[in-house]
């Protein structure tokens, strides 16, 4: 069975945020909510300064704390490794959001879907996209499971101008993600959390 994962090449990433908005468009996330974003990390003092762009998203961990703590069984792991939330079962208790060491989940508050990006006016785009959400549940990156199920790459991977994001099967040693992890020493974020993320970074 495949285990889907992503490799993010921090050398290639230029922090352009094309992924952030490709995700926003694909998933139609409500105001203020991004399923992926690019963090900026700064070290050093002028003039010796290092700035890193670090794209983050749900890590779809193999050993996912969010799955473990979910009292209603709404957060589940698919056989292919994608961690997804069943909105119908989610009770909005936020236990998962607290348990996630990466803070990559958040509650969709009441009223958010009515408000829309233009404050009180829902665009035709938002009307379509918001019909897939429910208020009062926890939402997060889905690895674009609908796209992946159709054989497409996640939206952020599809658009990335730098080709910094690569998606594929971590179980297949010949896949591009496996090869990159092997050849470039890919590492998982916060390995001390013992969650076995499906997202790897290359430096």
């Amino acid at each position: 069975m495949a285990r889907f994962g992503m490799v993010v090449d921090l050398k290639r990433c230029v922090g352009c945020n094309a992924c952030t908005l490709a995700c926003k468009a694909e998933n139609g996330t409500p105001p203020g909510i991004f399923f992926t974003k690019v963090l900026e990390q700064l070290a050093g003092q002028y003039p010796i300064v290092k700035k890193k762009f670090i794209p983050v998203l749900c890590n779809h961990c193999l050993n996912a704390p969010c799955v473990r703590v979910c009292p209603s069984g709404a957060t589940r792991k698919r056989d292919d490794g994608m961690v997804l939330v069943d909105y119908d079962q989610c009770i909005g208790c936020k236990a998962c959001a607290v348990a996630c060491p990466y803070k990559n989940r958040e509650l969709l508050p009441q009223g958010k879907l009515r408000q829309g990006h233009f404050k009180g006016h829902l665009t035709p785009f938002e009307k379509v996209k918001y019909s897939k959400f429910q208020e009062g549940v926890v939402i997060k990156c889905t690895f674009c499971c609908d796209r992946v199920d159709q054989g497409l790459e996640p939206s952020c991977v599809n658009t990335c101008p730098a080709e910094a994001r690569v998606f594929g099967d971590l179980h297949n040693p010949e896949s591009k993600v496996s090869r990159l992890i092997r050849q470039r020493g890919g590492f998982q974020p916060m390995s001390e959390a013992n969650t076995d993320p499906s997202v790897y970074y290359l430096e």
């Binding site: 094309a18 908005l21 468009a25 002028y46 300064v49 762009f53």
Partner: protein, 834 residues
């Protein structure tokens, strides 16, 4: 010709088109389901962006669906205008709106067409920019060139018939980037360029050296960031040129001898030394030890150095003069100007010449080319200054010295459109200078006819920042008319022209303003009538602007029916032209600007639709089989440029190392001013780029102790206009550098300023307030202001942080590059906590 038909049966479709979220126009595919636009992606079949798309491109959905779009022609009911004053818009029919505009403009045209100001900035439709010329007015009342490209485009055109330039992504191994976002955040088709740059950096291990006062994205990704003071990049470059010429003695002598005017003998006074009989420029043959015509086949060795006496005249090869002029430009002296250590200049100069592999060649598709995989790339940050021509020339000089112009690995010219580099033989064995790729020069006239004084800038680009001053002080240059109306089409002069208070005064003077746009902005909130344009997802365009690596148009086409009672801006201008009596002139202009062949010329007296014009344009460029229908089927005619188009297309002609052309232009200009009884400073027309200590920016009194720069907000924002898109707004609200005025930690500490403090920023020319954002990654003597915090439009999404950088800038001849018309885009300021 078939109309775009949207049958209800097409419930879920992907339609190919072209992006218009910046000027360059990447190929896109748009998902429309049940008539709703759900996604925009890069078109994987377009060799330009190869399926990639930047954040602006994705956010086009939310501009299209912005409920604040202008839905029908509107007119103001509130007679009072001003920043933040509600115009009290009321809808009006197209017939009535066009009638009002037509009658008003007709009257002006009859009285004196120069009384109309024109601001057209729809950057992809360059063919409409000249509408004012059809009307009879030459004023250009919006920033185009003078902020970014005035000292850029004409100089590129003079060197190699190019409009822009960028290093060779596919072969360069050592890339110095100064004040530009190529390959990271902006300029020249950013999505494809980011990929090409990432491939070069990561797959090929290309070394990147970044020079900028602020750690922009490209600096963060570079192997080395060299912070520098604004407006001193030329000093940094010339310090390195000094090292190459006077310390290392390393440069590509063969290239200079064969492909430039470096060996041409220069007479005292700086002009070419010509053969008395033939008038041909002379060179010195080091083999036969005598002067010969530059094209004498017996010349064995073109001498670059030495001093000679020919026919009693003391003459010197141009190269020797350049070397002499830079003898005192030691790294130590230049370091005191630009604040880059002399040792760094020496090291980078050495790395650069070594990486250039002078003398090496490469075979590409069966042809041998010089191979020079080291080059300097740059943009507005480096040359957007009041001596920008010199800044640009200095960078070109350093490139040319290693022989990297238009060769694999080097610094490549980029054309404006499908014409690629405009290569024509000029006089004296040289390539013909092409400073006028955007529009023909304005013939000299004193008093000038245009308020931006184009008549005084024979090789420059419209310095629109001079317009307001000349309106308010007509007596200075003898203007005998007073503008009373403006036409503003996808432009925002109040926001984008510096010298805000002067522009504001002009806006207060204007009796009538008509605007064409999809959303109101700071300027069009003053309009009497706004005529609503289609969004780019509802309209047609043949798109191709400044393409690196590739060439060929991509069709922009409607992906949905227009949402509102809008019309294509091209058709609106046709209607206005008809109404005010300049339709024939407009059609004539389009014949020229749309590259129409005679068989496709527009007919006098007839209103041609935008689609019809584009069809004729496509057929004129690509042949009768490739009209709009072909493009509807095939989306684009984009292909890679051939090696012969990209590399040395001027082979056999020489390019300008020593800009004798400047002296020629200056001489002609001086003569014209003499005849007119006026004076004009032509000292900037200098054939050799040197550092000039008398630099207006650096002469600003020391009490203004910091430099201030603004920046383009990386890949997220085009100019400033995307800040009304909620997705972009949310995004920049989360990025530290767009949260306030950037100040270095050390400087902030000295001044007792912390992040979040309200500060005042004052230049000799204006004052703004903003929130401080204390960071490490900026030069301690520089503050930075993002374009994401510069607006005050009434649009409800805009954050209205209103740290309008332009208010700090000068807008006067003193701070204008008198060759190119470029304005000074940096300034000195003092800041304090409020």
């Amino acid at each position: 010709m078939t109309q775009a038909a949207f049958s209800p049966a097409d419930k879920d479709r992907w339609i190919k088109s072209a992006c218009k979220m910046c000027l360059h126009g990447c190929g896109i595919r748009v998902n429309v389901r049940d008539g709703v636009i759900l996604k925009i992606e890069g078109d994987p079949d377009n060799p330009n962006n190869m399926g990639k798309l930047c954040p602006k491109g994705h956010s086009g959905i939310m501009r299209h669906y912005d409920p604040n779009r202008i839905k029908t022609p509107i007119r103001r009911t509130n007679p009072n205008r001003g920043p933040g004053v509600d115009p009290g818009w009321e809808p009006v029919s197209w017939d009535e709106a066009l009638d009002i505009v037509g009658r008003r403009l007709k009257k002006i045209r009859r009285e004196d067409p120069r009384k109309l100001l024109v601001a057209i900035n729809d950057f992809q439709r360059i063919h409409l920019w000249g509408w004012g010329a059809a009307f009879g007015t030459g004023h250009y009342f919006t920033t185009t060139g003078q902020f970014c490209g005035a000292a850029y485009h004409p100089i590129n055109g003079i060197i190699d018939g190019a409009f822009a330039s960028v290093n060779d992504y596919e072969h360069c191994n050592y890339w110095i980037q100064i004040g530009g976002g190529d390959g990271f955040s902006s300029h020249l088709h950013v999505a494809g360029s980011i990929k090409r740059m990432a491939d070069a950096r990561v797959d090929r291990g290309m070394k990147l050296v970044a020079v900028d006062p602020r750690m922009a994205a490209y600096c963060a990704k570079a192997d080395e960031w060299i912070p520098i003071l604004p407006g001193t990049d030329r000093a940094f470059i010339l310090g390195m040129v000094h090292v190459m010429l006077h310390e290392l003695n390393r440069y590509d002598a063969q290239f200079i001898k064969k492909h430039t005017n470096g060996p041409y003998l220069i007479a005292p006074g700086g002009r070419l030394f010509r053969c008395r009989e033939t008038q041909k420029p002379m060179v010195w043959d080091g083999g036969d030890n005598m002067a010969k015509a530059y094209d004498d086949p017996t010349v064995g060795d073109f001498a670059l150095e030495g001093r000679f006496v020919v026919d009693g005249a003391e003459v010197t090869p141009a190269f020797q003069l350049i070397k002499d002029a830079l003898k005192d430009h030691t790294p130590e002296r230049m370091s005191g100007i630009c604040d880059v250590p002399a040792g760094t200049m020496r090291r980078i100069a050495l790395e650069f010449v070594e990486a250039a592999r002078i003398g090496s060649t490469v075979m590409i598709e069966g042809k041998q080319y010089p191979y020079r995989p080291a080059a300097i790339n740059f943009y507005r940050g480096a040359i957007g200054h009041c001596q920008g021509t010199h800044d640009h020339s200095a960078i070109k000089l350093m490139n040319m010295l290693v022989g990297n112009i238009d060769v694999p690995g080097g610094h490549l010219g980029v054309g404006l459109d499908h014409r690629l580099l405009l290569i024509e033989p000029g006089p004296d064995g040289m390539i013909k200078p092409q400073p006028h790729i955007l529009h023909p020069p304005a013939p000299f006239s004193c008093p000038p006819q245009t308020l931006q004084m184009m008549e005084f800038f024979p090789i420059g680009l419209d310095p629109a920042h001079l317009v307001a001053h000349n309106i308010l002080h007509p007596e200075e240059w003898g203007y005998d008319f007073k503008p009373e109306a403006a036409l503003i089409y996808h432009a925002n002069p109040l926001k984008n022209i510096n010298g805000y208070h002067k522009v504001l005064e002009v806006f207060r003077m204007l009796e009538f303003i008509v605007a064409i746009d999809i959303l109101p902005n700071e300027s069009t909130e003053w309009a009497d009538i706004i005529l609503p344009d289609h969004s780019y997802l509802e309209s047609y365009m043949m798109t191709l602007c400044e393409p690196p690596v590739i060439t060929g148009h991509t069709l922009r086409q409607p992906v949905v029916e227009p949402m509102y009672d809008t019309r294509d801006a091209h058709d609106i201008l046709t209607d206005i032209s008809h109404g005010c009596g300049c339709l024939d002139e407009f059609n004539g202009l389009l014949n020229f600007t749309m590259f129409l062949k005679p068989e496709y010329y527009l007919e006098p007296g007839r209103k041609h639709t935008a689609q019809e014009c584009l069809d004729r344009m496509a057929k004129s460029i690509y042949g009768p089989e490739m009209g709009l229908d072909w493009f509807r089927q095939n989306s684009n005619a984009v292909r890679r440029q051939k090696p012969g188009e990209m590399y040395m297309p001027w082979d056999g002609m020489r390019i300008s190392l020593y800009h004798e052309y400047f002296l020629q232009v200056a001489g002609e200009l001086e003569e014209k001013f003499r005849s007119a009884g006026r004076q004009w400073d032509t000292s900037s027309y200098h054939p050799i780029p040197v550092w000039n200590d008398d630099h207006p920016l650096h002469r600003i009194p020391a009490e203004y102790d910091l430099y201030a720069i603004n920046f383009k907000a990386e890949a997220v924002i085009n100019h400033h206009e995307n800040t009304t898109i909620p997705w972009i707004n949310e995004l920049v609200s989360n990025i530290p550098i767009h949260k306030g005025v950037l100040i270095n930690t050390r400087t902030a500490r000295e001044k007792g300023i912390s992040t979040g403090d309200r500060i005042s920023i004052e230049s000799p020319f204006g004052k703004v307030e903003g929130l401080a954002r204390v960071i490490e990654e900026i030069h301690p003597r520089v503050i930075g202001i993002s374009n994401a915090i510069a607006r005050w439009t009434m649009h409800p999404v805009e954050r209205k942080m209103n740290v309008n950088f332009n208010r700090l800038l000068p807008a006067s001849l003193e701070f204008t590059d008198l060759v190119s018309g470029h304005q000074e885009t940096a300034v000195k300021v003092r800041i304090s906590k409020i």
